[in-house]
């Protein structure tokens, strides 16, 4: 079960329509009832305009995009542009209008769009999304790119089957992207959240990748040995572990605070708790010269490098790579080749 954080600074809206589970959970500082359904018939374009304005007035972030993606999804498209002109200008049925209103009302509570429409795209895949499982960030698309580049450059690739371990798979974005691009790859994925394990299994089935992935409900912090036993030496360890500083978690926007699993975000006071655990255990899981790919906070790379050099002799810090915004975001390490014992 995940904790819902209700800090005093958090503004809450009380809506009857969201569901019994939530009733009584929120006290409303500013009660706003959701906008009523329109009296006459309207077109999709009109619905778009209406909700964009309403989101703006209600302080909902990215009002234009929110409206855009929800209306498009209701009409069966990923984007408004992909839809026929006709569909946008003809009158919506009562059911369709109700559906749009229902979804947009959810967004009024600051539920992330990805949870509202229950899906999102990651690289070339479309994945199901469900609270509280962590929503993949754009930066993580680049993490997959790094792993793929190295996998393709490895001399052994092509003949042998390679295995990859993902710690903290969430919705399965990273694992499934790797599988989708590498027919030779097998993946073992772990997550401490039962919901995440379920969701990854669901996405794997939908993408017909279930045969090459094993998903285990394990907490890498407390069950590392169990994790090691579940996978024979892997050539790649990849993770987007919780890396936020505990203090920073308190200041996150409602989209994250109210809906996403805090355990997927909080990396302890220095954000390095889970990262250090991964790096400590890695030598036991990796084959020689196996690679580690981590997504981290921009402040982490030099700290990680120092720490590894002082504490994990079997690992070599290879490089730091930037994300699309030029922030240092990815750490690449490697397990050193074991020296032969000469006795």
């Amino acid at each position: 079960m995940w904790r819902r954080s209700l800090s005093a600074g958090c503004r809450c809206f009380g809506f009857g329509s969201i569901g019994a589970k939530r009733r009584g959970q929120f006290h409303s500082l500013h009660t706003c009832s959701p906008p009523a359904l329109p009296v006459g018939r309207i077109t999709a374009l009109q619905a778009l305009e209406f909700w964009k304005k309403h989101f703006e007035e209600s302080g909902v972030t990215e009002p234009d995009l929110s409206s855009h993606y929800i209306v498009a999804h209701s009409l069966g498209g990923k984007t408004i542009e992909s839809l026929e002109q006709r569909k946008l200008t003809e009158f919506l049925s009562r059911e369709k209008t109700e559906q749009i209103w229902k979804l947009c009302t959810k967004r009024l509570s600051r539920m992330p769009v990805q949870y509202v429409i229950q899906e999102w795209d990651f690289r070339d895949l479309t994945l199901t999304m469900r609270p509280p499982v962590f929503i993949p960030r754009p930066e993580t698309e680049e993490l997959v790119e790094l792993v793929l580049t190295d996998l393709k450059n490895k001399p052994s690739s092509g003949d042998t089957v390679q295995t990859c371990l993902e710690v903290g798979c969430g919705s399965g974005a990273v694992s499934l992207s790797l599988l989708s691009s590498c027919p030779q790859l097998q993946v073992v994925a772990l997550d401490r959240s039962q919901e995440a394990v379920e969701l990854t299994k669901e996405n794997a089935s939908r993408l017909k990748l279930q045969d090459r992935i094993q998903i285990h409900h394990l907490d890498f912090m407390t069950e590392a040995d169990e994790a090691c036993s579940r996978c024979s030496p892997v050539s790649v360890l990849v993770s987007n572990p919780p890396y936020l500083f505990s203090d920073d978690v308190k200041t996150l926007e409602p989209e994250i605070l109210r809906f996403e699993d805090p355990f997927a975000l909080d990396g302890g006071s220095d954000g390095l708790t889970v990262i250090k655990q991964i790096l400590t255990v890695a030598p036991k899981i990796l084959s020689d010269r196996g690679g580690i790919y981590l997504e981290v906070d921009p402040r982490h790379p030099p700290l990680i490098q120092q720490w590894v050099e002082a504490n994990v002799a079997e690992l070599r810090y290879v490089e730091t790579r930037p994300d699309i915004n030029s922030r240092p975001r990815f750490c690449v390490l490697q397990k050193k080749q074991r020296e032969l014992d000469v006795k």
Binding site: K78, E81, Q85, R123, P138, Y243, E253, R327
Partner: protein, 445 residues
């Protein structure tokens, strides 16, 4: 008793021998009022060209053109000269190589020429026989019919051969088989959104055309305007000979209508608007090397550390090539990485166009000098919804049933074929006129 066929054959042989006696009577034929024209190689043929299929104006018709005739003559002269030179005993290796190269280039043309000569000879024989059989008796009527048929066939063959000859002269655009980046942009009007509505319809039309031609239609960028109109969009179209078919779509398209939806529909008057189409050939990826250091990539950038601390649906990417200032942006996909890849492809196409730009500009300048100034703002085509017709101003081609036309199917394809043929003609005329100006043909190099 001879069989029917044998009878015909024996008559044919008899008439053929008659032919040699009939031939010299050309004066009589002229006085009969038949139309005769001199061809390049001195043969004569009837003016009553028996075409078994309807000809719509195409490059082949340029055969009659004086410049073309002169050009063909020049080429054949060149060919004969080369053949003579190659016969000479004392000729250097370098010269021989050069001559052989030119010979190989001209050989296909020379072959068609020879074929035409042969066909004309046959035709003359048949014509003579026919003339000789004027006023023939009944039993010869069947033979006359056969002869007429044969003459028609040969005429057709000659026509086709001549068209092929001319077509072979048309300069080939090496970019014809390329894929393209097609962009549509709404024009400006004083009020209302007629331009944006029209741009959206044009976008749909090209999407329909891509489907019709079995091409791949990949949207790179789409910036909608209000009320369902389109501000601008960029699409990659891939397939066979895409650039060849779409290159002449570039330019300003004009619309005239009484708008049905949008702001303008309140006033029931005929409105005019414009939109612009730009077609860029898309290069093979390898041709262009872009240094990552020369690029600035703009994406949604949060104030804090980004990453896990932010939830966003803003995946738009803009790529700027700093040295040239070329920009490409994309927000087509929900995935930021996909948008970045698409923006990069668009950037490459634009950079390539800049690279090629110099060459294209030169060609256009030469063309303008020949054909006369036509500024960018002149519309190439008008879509008149009120009068239900589409008019292309380069060829005068008029298409009806504008609703059908805007589906981007056969009607558009016909118009495009027409424009293509017209442009081929222009290109060829330009070529022969240039060649005709001061080139020394007795000294091929």
């Amino acid at each position: 008793m001879l069989k029917c066929g044998d009878m015909l054959v024996s008559r044919w042989l008899r008439l053929r021998s008659l032919c040699n006696r009939v031939c010299p009577h050309t004066r009589r034929e002229e006085r009969k009022g038949l139309l005769w024209r001199r061809t390049l190689i001195g043969h004569q043929f009837t003016g009553t060209l028996a075409s078994s299929r309807p000809c719509h104006s195409d490059v082949g018709d340029l055969y009659q053109n004086e410049c073309i005739q002169r050009y063909l003559q020049q080429l054949m002269q060149e060919y004969r000269y080369i053949c003579q030179r190659l016969e000479l005993p004392h000729i250097s290796e370098a010269d021989r190589r050069a001559l052989i190269k030119k010979h190989t280039e001209l050989l296909p043309l020379a072959d068609v020429f020879t074929d035409i000569e042969e066909a004309l000879k046959d035709q003359q024989e048949v014509s003579s026989l026919l003339l000789g059989s004027v006023g023939a008796k009944d039993e010869d009527k069947q033979l006359t019919e056969l002869l007429k048929e044969e003459e028609a066939q040969i005429s057709c063959k000659v026509l086709t051969l001549r068209k092929n000859l001319v077509k072979a002269l048309v300069p080939i655009d090496p970019l014809d088989s390329s894929n393209v980046l097609l962009e549509v942009m709404a024009g400006r009007t004083t009020g209302g959104d007629i331009c944006q509505q029209f741009t959206r319809e044009m976008f749909d039309m090209y999407r329909g055309y891509a489907w019709f031609k079995n091409w791949d239609f990949e949207v790179y960028n789409y910036t909608p305007a209000e009320y369902g109109g389109l501000h601008h969009a960029a699409v990659r179209i891939a397939g066979i000979d895409v650039y060849k078919h779409l290159k002449h779509e570039g330019g300003t398209h004009r619309v005239q209508r009484i708008p049905e939806v949008g702001l303008s529909s309140r006033m029931q008057r005929i409105h005019t608007g414009t939109m612009t189409v730009i077609v860029l050939p898309q290069p093979v990826e390898l041709d262009l090397h872009i240094d990552p250091k020369d690029l600035r990539i703009d994406t949604f950038r949060s104030r804090g550390a980004g990453g896990q601390s932010v939830n966003t649906t803003d995946s738009a990417v803009r790529v700027v090539h700093l040295p040239t200032g070329t920009v490409a942006e994309c927000q087509q996909s929900r995935s930021q990485l996909q948008n970045r890849d698409t923006a990069m492809r668009m950037l490459r196409a634009r950079l390539y166009q800049s690279m090629m730009g110099e060459e294209i500009k030169h060609r256009q300048t030469v063309r303008k000098q020949q054909v006369g100034e036509r500024s960018q703002s002149d519309r190439i085509r008008t879509y008149n919804f009120s009068q239900d017709r589409v008019t292309d101003h380069r060829t005068g081609h008029v298409a009806r049933d504008i609703k059908e036309f805007m589906r981007g199917g056969g009607a558009l394809d016909n118009l495009i074929s027409d424009v293509l043929e017209n442009e081929e003609k222009q290109a060829l005329l330009e070529l022969v006129e240039n060649r005709g100006n001061g080139r020394d043909l007795t000294n091929p190099d």
